[in-house]
Symmetry: C2
Subunit: 271 residues, 2 copies
C-alpha cells in the first residue's frame, strides 16, 4: 500500500476526536451519502466509535438509534454520557449534533466479544449459503432514477441478480434483497458492521418502488467479531402499515457465521 | 363493575404523576414481578406513559430500552427530555431512576396512529391463524422450579400446549412459544402492548432450560391500535452465541392484525 500512514476510507470517514471529556468532533463525509444525505448506518458507526472510546469495553454489542433530522455533510459534534460501567458491559448514551441541533440520539451497550466463542444454537435463522456472489451485480454510483449515490463509489456492494428486478421495474414482490459488501482496504469490525446493517437499498424496492424511505429507528446487535472478507447481507421487509415499514437485516461473515443483525422502522409512501 | 372509579390493574400499576415539568413519579408494583423483579416490558410501559404525556402526539410508535440494573418494587422517578417535536412525530428520551441510580434508559418516538389505516403489505410475516386458543394452558403464579411469578396472578397468559414441553423437561428444540394474553378489566392500547411484547417466558425454554435470561436491550414497534380482546403472541429465539440470545416477538390483535413487534438481546448461560 503506498499510503500506509493513512487510515482506510471507512475508518477515516468515521473518525472522532475527543475535544473535552466525553465530547467529540467529527466530519461527516460527503462521500458516504445517498442523494447528498449521509447514510444512517454510517452515522450510527460514528456514534458507536465515540461510545466505545469512553467505555472500558471494546466492542459495541447493541445500538439503538432514533433519527431526529438528517444532518448535512460537514463538521458535527458528539456528546456522550456513560450511564453505567459494569464488569462485562457498559452503557453509553450518545447524541450527534449538527448546526446546533440534535440529529440522532443513540443508546449503546458496549462489551467485549471473545474471539474463541462459538455459536451455541443457530436453528432460528435462515442459511446464508443459498446465494452465490459470483454472478452478483455491483450497485452503481448513480441509481436508475438518476439519484447520485456517492457511497457506492466508496464501497463494493453487489446484489443477487434474482433480487434486481426492481432495477427494471419488475420487483419480485417478496420484499427481500440479498447482497455482499466489501470495504476498500480494510476488513469489517463491530463499528463498520453498523454501516453494513444499513447498506442495502430499502427491501421495499422489491415490492414497489417509492421515494425516500426515512428511518425513524434502527436497532443493531453485533454478535461476533467478523473474519476478514466480504460480508453477506439479507434485508427483508415484514409489514407495511400506516405508511411505515419494518425491515430486518442479517449479516454473515465470510465463514457463514451471523455477526450482526438489525431491525428498523421507516416511513414509506405507497398506494 | 363495583369499583368503576378505580383504574384497571395494568393502568393502575403503570401510572405516572408529573411532579415538575418533565419529571414524574411512579410506584413499581410488586404484583408485576417475576421472582420479585419487575417485568421489563411493564417498566418500559411506565416510561412510555411519561413520554407520551410530554409529547403532543398520542401513541408510542417505537421504543428502545437499554436495561442498566433491575429496580426493586417501590417508588421510582422518571426523567424525560423532549428531543424534537415534528408535525407527525416527536422523540422523547426517558430514564427510570430507583434508589438514586439510573435503571433503564429508553428512547421513544411518539406519533398518532390513525384508526382508519389498513395494512398495505403483510407478506413478510407468519400467519397468526395456525394456532387455536381453545386448548391453551394458563401459566400459573408459581413456575415448575418453584419461582414465584406474581405477574401471572394479574394477567391471563395461555401458552399453546404444543409449546409447553419445557414444563415437563421436553422442549421441542424449535425455540418458539405461542400464546395469548388478556389484561383483567381493560383492553390493550399502545402502552400496554409494550408489556405484551415481553410477557411470554424466554423462548429459549423451548430449546434448553436455563436460569434468568436478563434483557440487555429491547426495541418495540407499535404498528396499530389494537381492537378489544385477547392478543396472540409469538416469541421466537434466533441465535444463541457468546452467552447471548436474540428473540423476536410478534403480537396480533383479535382480528389477526399485527399490532406490535419487538426484538431483544439477552444474556443466557447454557452449555
Amino acid at each position: 500500500m503506498s499510503h500506509s500512514e493513512e487510515p482506510a476510507a471507512f475508518t477515516a470517514a468515521s473518525m472522532v476526536e475527543e475535544i473535552s471529556p466525553g465530547r467529540f468532533e467529527t466530519a461527516i463525509s460527503p462521500g458516504w451519502t445517498i442523494g447528498g444525505k449521509p447514510n444512517g448506518g454510517y452515522l450510527l458507526a460514528i456514534l458507536a466509535r465515540a461510545a466505545t472510546h469512553v467505555s472500558p469495553h471494546d466492542h459495541v454489542l447493541a445500538a439503538s438509534a432514533h433519527y431526529l433530522r438528517s444532518p448535512d455533510p460537514g463538521p458535527a459534534s458528539i456528546e456522550t454520557e456513560v450511564l453505567r460501567v459494569g464488569r462485562s458491559a457498559s452503557q453509553v448514551r450518545t447524541r450527534l449534533i449538527h448546526d446546533g441541533k440534535p440529529c440522532i440520539e443513540a443508546l449503546t451497550t458496549i462489551g467485549t466479544l471473545d474471539p474463541h466463542d462459538k455459536p451455541y444454537w443457530t436453528e432460528g435463522l435462515p442459511s446464508p449459503e443459498i446465494r452465490d456472489r459470483a454472478d452478483a451485480i455491483r450497485v452503481p454510483g448513480t441509481n436508475p432514477a438518476g439519484l447520485r449515490v456517492a457511497i457506492m463509489d466508496q464501497v463494493d456492494l453487489r446484489i443477487d441478480p434474482e433480487d434486481m428486478g426492481f432495477g427494471v421495474g419488475k420487483p419480485s414482490g417478496k420484499g427481500e434483497l440479498n447482497g455482499w459488501l466489501e470495504l476498500p482496504g480494510e476488513d469489517f469490525d463491530p463499528i463498520s458492521l453498523l454501516y453494513a446493517l444499513d447498506s442495502l437499498p430499502p427491501a421495499t424496492f422489491d415490492i414497489e418502488m417509492s421515494g425516500w424511505v426515512p428511518t425513524f429507528e434502527l436497532t443493531a446487535y453485533i454478535r461476533a467479531v467478523p473474519t476478514p472478507g466480504p460480508v453477506r447481507i439479507q434485508q427483508r421487509a415484514q409489514l407495511i402499515d400506516a405508511h411505515k415499514v419494518d425491515e430486518v437485516c442479517l449479516v454473515w461473515d465470510s465463514t457463514g457465521r451471523l455477526v450482526a443483525q438489525a431491525t428498523q422502522l421507516a416511513g414509506i409512501r405507497l398506494g
